[in-house]
């Protein structure tokens, strides 16, 4: 299976972990395409997501690579098993590409003609999307099978953004869906849906999100194997006429979602008997 990984940045831990996971499961990517980190749009997007302090912390972690034990820090600790290697921790897709011997392209726009030409040259069977631009038809049509996405919610119930948080508020099971992408948002054919069994163990919304990302990467490996063995096929989503799209959640509602998560934790922690 010829696989290409798409990342939102060369420093994307999710893209690095995905590429490592694919390589370790016998599908070394034929290439990776990542957005330029210092691209204005990416920088502004990260500023919006993490704030100035978050971006400064992230930049420091990436540019000053050693923590007290000599290891570079990992933002999502649940990805450490994939990112750790004998010489330390993979900090960028460039390091992963060098370790596993596949080429990497860095671009300002994944839909740009140069990016499309590069992807076509790799003639992939499958592209795995871990972040970046909204993909246009021209790119979506390149791989033989399709462009695969890990959505952090169960489709078709929860489409769009802040999916784990909306799942909690809407009383929909938390989980991930692995699906092919199409021109709309999260409406492509579904390959597999997985409910996440450890939601009640999560300490916060960001903890839940980090665990779901790691869970999703683990499940992608299963799906790719299934596609390779032709034991998995995609099914079109039902209820496409229903508008199940959700948008970035306001912080007041996020706080309510966090309360629901905490309630689950309380409900599942076994009572301890003192004395």
């Amino acid at each position: 299976m010829r696989i290409v990984v798409l990342g939102s940045s060369v420093y994307s831990e999710t893209a690095c972990a995905m590429a490592v996971r694919m390589a370790e499961s016998g599908h070394v990517p034929v290439g990776a395409l990542a957005l330029r980190t210092l691209d204005r749009g990416t920088l502004l997007r990260k500023l919006g997501q993490w704030g100035v302090r978050g971006v400064a912390r992230y930049a420091r972690a990436k540019l000053i690579p050693h923590r007290s034990d000599g290891q570079p820090p990992v933002r999502n600790l649940y990805l450490e098993p994939e990112l750790k290697h004998s010489g330390g921790v993979f900090r960028s897709l460039r390091e992963v590409a060098a370790a596993y011997g596949f080429p990497i392209l860095v671009c300002n726009d994944q839909n740009a003609p140069d990016s499309i030409a590069g992807l076509r040259e790799w003639s992939p069977d499958l592209i795995i999307f871990t972040g970046g631009n909204i993909l246009r038809k021209q790119l979506l049509e390149i791989p033989r099978l399709g462009v695969l996405n890990v959505h952090l919610g169960l489709l078709p119930e929860i489409r769009g953004m802040s999916s784990p948080e909306w799942s909690l508020l809407k009383h929909v099971p938390v989980g991930v869906t692995i699906h092919y992408m199409d021109a709309e948002i999260d409406t492509g054919p579904i390959l597999q849906r997985y409910e996440f069994p450890d939601a009640a163990r999560c300490e916060s919304l960001s903890d839940l999100r980090n665990r779901l990302i790691a869970f999703g990467i683990e499940k992608v490996a299963d799906v790719v194997s299934g596609l390779d063995r032709r034991t998995i096929s995609a099914t079109h989503q039902p209820d496409l006429d229903k508008d199940n799209q959700f948008f970035v959640m306001h912080e007041w509602l996020q706080a309510r979602a966090a309360e629901r998560l905490a309630k689950r934790r309380v409900a599942t922690v076994p009572e301890t008997v003192n004395g």
Partner: protein
């Protein structure tokens, strides 16, 4: 260009020149004007909107609500009416009967929340002034105080909202009599198809945003029904509820499958978001009162189309072409606040949290635009447009903008409190 358009343009130029000379009469306004122009220019330069973010502010909704109410109280003129606007060029306008009327419910809602005697007194003064303006026919005139003597359907409807609420709060018989007289005149002027046109209508043509009048009639119908033990017609057999629904049906026939509503019909003006939101607010509130789920669904479809645009672009343009195409680059701040009201009310009716989410985010965006300082008339005010030189009410802070944003924040307070209360009730017993 025909002679009508020529006259309109000449009128607009004359109006602009008159406004500009206002600075000569009030040179103290030069500094706030330049300050605001520079501030908006800089803000636009630094603004970055993208899919993964939304505008946030550290200002608490309660603080902004207080500053909006302070602005409204400051705008109350000695006659008891509320000024239409504070112009950065000419200062406060004359009292505006229409806004004075429909600001009354906002004042009472605010007074209900933290309990402020000054606000109740302001509402009572406003009501008293309006009662003094009513024509023998029951109608109220259009325009600013003293500007025209022509009875106006829309303004009478908007004032009727205030009278109905004032009666509910005070139980004073003369207020109900005035409301009934206004309602009777509106029903008398209504066309067979449910619309209003002719001399009482703006530019003498029918407008779908007169759904706000239907809302007022539906409210009057409820009050009259209370007085007549469930019969919603008055002693003369006028059925206000039926009249409201007649207009509702006429407006609903103008909804397109895309959610766009035809028939705003303002010659010489684009379809400002303010008027689109008026249509939706009027239909929604009338539908809720008359228990018309078909109308709620129609509004939800339009409101959803605008919600998607807001979520993607982080603001709603000030004016649209049909089918919500070609949004203009400025923002009609009032229209955005009205849409927040529509979304929050739709959340209340449908329980769809996405409407609450959009309303909360819209309020965040709007809170950023309220000046924390500046002279009276500026501090706490809502500009017609953002940037302030945008096409809708340029260089003005407008009282109806404060009204609708205050309504949105009051709704936010009420709904978030009841949401939290319902979540707490759902908790398992701690003992």
């Amino acid at each position: 260009m025909n002679s009508g358009e020529d006259n309109a343009m000449t009128g607009q130029i004359a109006k602009a020149l008159t406004e500009a000379t206002g600075l000569l009469r009030g040179p103290q306004r030069v500094v706030p004007l330049i300050g605001k122009l520079v501030f908006d220019k800089l803000r636009i330069g630094f603004e970055q909107r993208h899919l993964y973010s939304y505008a946030t502010t550290k200002r608490a909704s309660g603080d902004v609500l207080n500053s909006l109410l302070r602005w409204i109280l400051d705008a109350q003129r000695p006659d008891g009416g509320i000024a239409a606007y504070y112009s950065l060029l000419t200062g406060y306008s004359e009292s505006y009967p229409e806004v004075t009327g429909y600001i009354i419910p906002t004042l009472y809602d605010f007074a209900r929340a933290p309990g402020d005697d000054r606000v109740v007194a302001a509402a009572e003064r406003a009501t008293g002034w309006l009662l003094s303006l009513q024509m023998p026919t029951g109608a109220f005139s259009g325009g600013l105080q003293g500007s025209e003597a022509q009875p106006s359907v829309f303004n009478t409807g908007q004032i009727l909202q205030g009278l109905v609420r004032a009666h509910m709060e005070t139980n004073r018989a003369e207020i109900l009599e005035a409301a009934v007289a206004a309602g009777n005149w509106l029903v008398k002027m209504q066309q067979e198809n449910g619309s209003w046109l002719g001399p009482g209508a703006y530019q003498a043509v029918a407008h779908t945003y007169y759904s706000m009048v239907a809302w007022a009639l539906a409210e009057l119908s409820e009050v009259v029904a209370d007085h007549h033990h469930g019969h919603n017609d008055n002693d003369n057999g006028v059925d206000y509820g039926l009249a409201a629904e007649k207009n509702l049906d006429w407006v609903l026939s103008h909804f397109r499958p895309s959610g766009w509503v035809d028939g705003i019909n303002l010659r010489g003006h684009p379809d400002y978001l303010h008027f689109i939101a008026y249509v939706l607010q009027g239909v929604l509130e009338c539908a809720i009162l008359r228990r018309r789920s078909d109308a709620v669904e129609a509004v939800a479809k339009s409101a959803w189309a605008l919600l998607r645009k807001f979520e993607t672009n982080k603001y709603l343009p000030g004016a649209y072409e049909p089918d919500f195409k070609g949004g203009q680059r400025f923002t009609c701040v009032t229209g955005n606040a009205q849409m927040s009201c529509v979304w929050l009310r739709l959340f209340e009716v449908t329980d769809d949290l996405r409407y609450l989410n959009a309303g909360l985010k819209m309020n965040e965006m709007l809170k950023q635009l309220i000046p924390t300082g500046g002279p009276r008339g500026v501090a706490g005010g809502v500009s017609g447009s953002y940037p302030v030189w945008g096409c809708y009410q340029p260089l003005r802070y407008i009282s109806w903008g404060c009204k609708f944003f205050a309504d949105a924040l009051l709704l936010e307070q009420r709904l978030t409190q009841s949401f939290e209360a319902s979540t707490t009730e759902a908790l398992p017993c701690a003992s």
